[in-house]
Amino acid sequence: MDNTTHAPSHSAHPGYGTFIKVWVALLVCTFALVGLAHLGQGPAVWGLLTLTPLKAGLVFYFFMHLKYEPPLLKVVVLVTLGTLLIFFALLFADVAFR
């Protein structure tokens, strides 16, 4: 196993442009979120539930290079998020029905 995985293993690195575009998208999402929050509680919660995960997803997928990594790392992240979601759901089996 020793000598098989030397040097940078991901091929064809993305350039500056890709990441700057992602950054612009993140800023747009942020201001959309702020705008929604001003429309009232309902839209604010919807913004929280959709735009925030979207932003986090962009950072994970592009900035943290998940797009360019093998499946294993994607699985690691999904397992973690799935676990947290289940913890959350089971806690609410108590909190929401108390």
Partner: protein
């Protein structure tokens, strides 16, 4: 045979204590854990004996009531955080995981040594908490809020110790997962890995996914005690039940951190002494993963009487019943492995079979508690204490004893006296069952746990259990005495004293510094006995 010196003789890293404290060799780190944990274990056993003596002479004020509270807290904290949780993974995982998968070391050897230092730092902090601040913690090992927020004893330092120990546990988990993914020998596919490696893999995942919840909960307790943030404090709108939820989100899966590597070790021992492949290899491998998965979803069965919602009670009762299924799958497979095997009855097998027996009692009493109606009756009684010790001591403890007997010749290159081990088994087994079955009965009768005194009708059974505890201690002393003697005076052991076929038996005893002269290429599954090829 080999040009490399054994890891015990290697002096390139200096000699004496320095060679041990600075060595990143996974085998030496494993032994560091072994020595420190057995010491903690014996201290906690001593505390347990004192508690039994208090119950033998109630109202005689052997110790003060406050001291008794400190004693059961200490016994729990030491046993759980310093012995059972890190036990098998840190000792045998470190020593054997790289060997079992055909690697020279773990993926991050320096991080591995650092984990041991975190472990010791956490232990020292926990010990310091006894003598500083307001004195020894008296909350029980669960640190339940709001009492842990209000008590004058030194909770903050003890909790910080547990936090540091959690860090050690997480780093070990990271190390093992990367090791298994990246350092398997050529041809060692996932389904050719020994089951111990599977068990360690699933354990490591629980360590990663559950331990941080404990860490943050303990941080919140510390913040609460210093700054009064109010999240668990009902006076400020906080919710003590939230503490219980967060605590058990970690601490229930922690039970599986404790037992899974034990099950892995048993799955290694049985094929070797039956001289046939394990029955249902994939079923055992997958049941390890599903125990890890489902076991993370049952935490609130510790809270059935806490005032949680009825709906949650039902959900968690159901999930608790489900987790019994993969555990039962393992037991059936172990027993089936024995069937028609050519059984070689050696000490490790004796302890492995004892494990299966005691674990069945522990597991089945656990299913009883999963039923809501019974749970209300036996909640917070000695029944819980008895059940817990059947699983953790009868299960993990005996698995660790079995694993130590199995791998001792490999680790030290010495063989112990088998007779002395057989002799130690008898008081261990009899004492264990007297003590903890006595507790199960006491609990059914209604004796609450953690009480300083008891009603007269419980006394005869307390006497019975206390006598059992003496036998148990006698057995422990004989067991560890035999092994200690063998380290210094034991006969030299062969490379393969048991006729095992997994990778650790292909290298000399004790193993050379880098385990393998040349990394082996794997072409078969892990339990490929010659008889089976006919």
């Amino acid at each position: 045979m080999t040009t490399q010196p054994s890891y015990l003789d290697y002096t390139g890293n200096g000699t004496g204590l320095k060679a041990w404290l600075t060595s990143t060799d996974h085998k030496r780190v494993g032994l560091l854990y072994l020595y420190s944990m057995i010491s903690f274990f014996l201290v906690a056993v001593g505390i347990g004996v004192v508690m039994r003596l208090v119950q033998l002479y109630p109202f005689q004020h052997l110790v003060k009531a406050q001291t008794y509270n400190a004693l059961f807290t200490l016994h729990g904290v030491i046993m759980i955080f310093l012995f059972v949780v890190p036990g098998l993974p840190a000792i045998f995982g470190n020593f054997f995981l790289p060997i079992l998968i055909g690697a020279k070391d773990v993926a991050f050897p320096r991080l591995n040594l650092a984990s041991w230092y975190f472990f010791m730092a956490g232990a020292i902090l926990a010990i310091l908490s006894l003598f500083t601040g307001g004195g020894a913690p008296d909350t029980g090992w669960t640190f339940y809020a709001p009492f842990s927020l209000k008590t004058g004893t030194n909770i903050s330092l003890a909790v910080f110790g547990a936090f540091v120990l959690g860090f050690s546990s997480m780093l070990t988990g990271i190390n093992f997962i990367v090791t298994i993914h990246r350092l398997r020998a050529p041809g060692m596919t996932f389904f050719r890995m020994p089951l111990m490696a599977w068990a360690l893999y699933s354990t490591s995942w629980i360590q990663l996914l559950a331990t941080p919840i404990l860490a943050i909960t303990l941080v919140l307790v510390i913040l609460e005690r210093f700054f009064g943030i109010g999240i668990f404090d009902p006076a400020k709108g906080g919710d003590p039940l939230l503490y219980q939820h967060l605590f058990w989100i970690y601490s229930h899966p922690a039970v599986y951190i404790m037992i899974l590597p034990g099950m892995g070790a048993i799955s290694e021992i049985l094929p070797t002494f039956c001289k046939r492949p394990i029955f249902g290899y994939k079923a055992i491998a997958f049941s390890s993963m599903s125990i890890a998965g489902v076991g993370s979803l049952v935490w609130a069965h510790h809270m059935f009487t806490s005032g949680m919602s009825e709906f949650a009670n039902m959900v968690f009762s159901l999930l608790t019943m489900i987790v019994a299924v993969p555990s039962a799958i393992k037991v059936f497979n172990w027993v089936s492995t024995l069937y028609k095997g050519s059984i070689d009855f050696q000490p490790p097998l004796l302890f492995a079979l004892t494990f299966i027996f005691l674990f069945c009692i522990g597991g089945l009493t656990g299913v009883m508690q999963g039923a809501l109606a019974i749970n209300v009756h036996i909640h917070d009684t000695y029944f819980i204490v008895g059940h817990f010790h059947y699983v953790m001591f009868g299960g993990t403890g005996f698995a660790l004893f079995a694993a130590l007997l199995y791998w001792f010749p490999k680790m030290f290159g010495k063989m112990y006296s088998k007779r002395a081990i057989y002799a130690s088994w008898l008081p261990l087994f009899v004492g264990f069952n007297m003590l903890y079955f006595g507790m199960l009965i006491l609990g059914m009768m209604g004796m609450p746990r953690r009480y300083y005194v008891h009603l007269p009708q419980f006394h005869w059974m307390h006497v019975f259990a206390t006598v059992g505890s003496w036998l148990l201690v006698l057995g422990l002393l004989m067991y560890f005495g035999t092994l200690l003697y063998a380290i210094f005076r034991g006969k030299k052991a062969d490379a393969n004293p048991w006729g095992g076929v997994s990778l650790e038996w292909t290298i000399p005893s004790p193993p050379p510094l880098e385990n393998f002269e040349t990394i082996p290429t794997i072409t078969t599954g892990p339990y490929h006995f010659a008889e089976e090829e006919k």
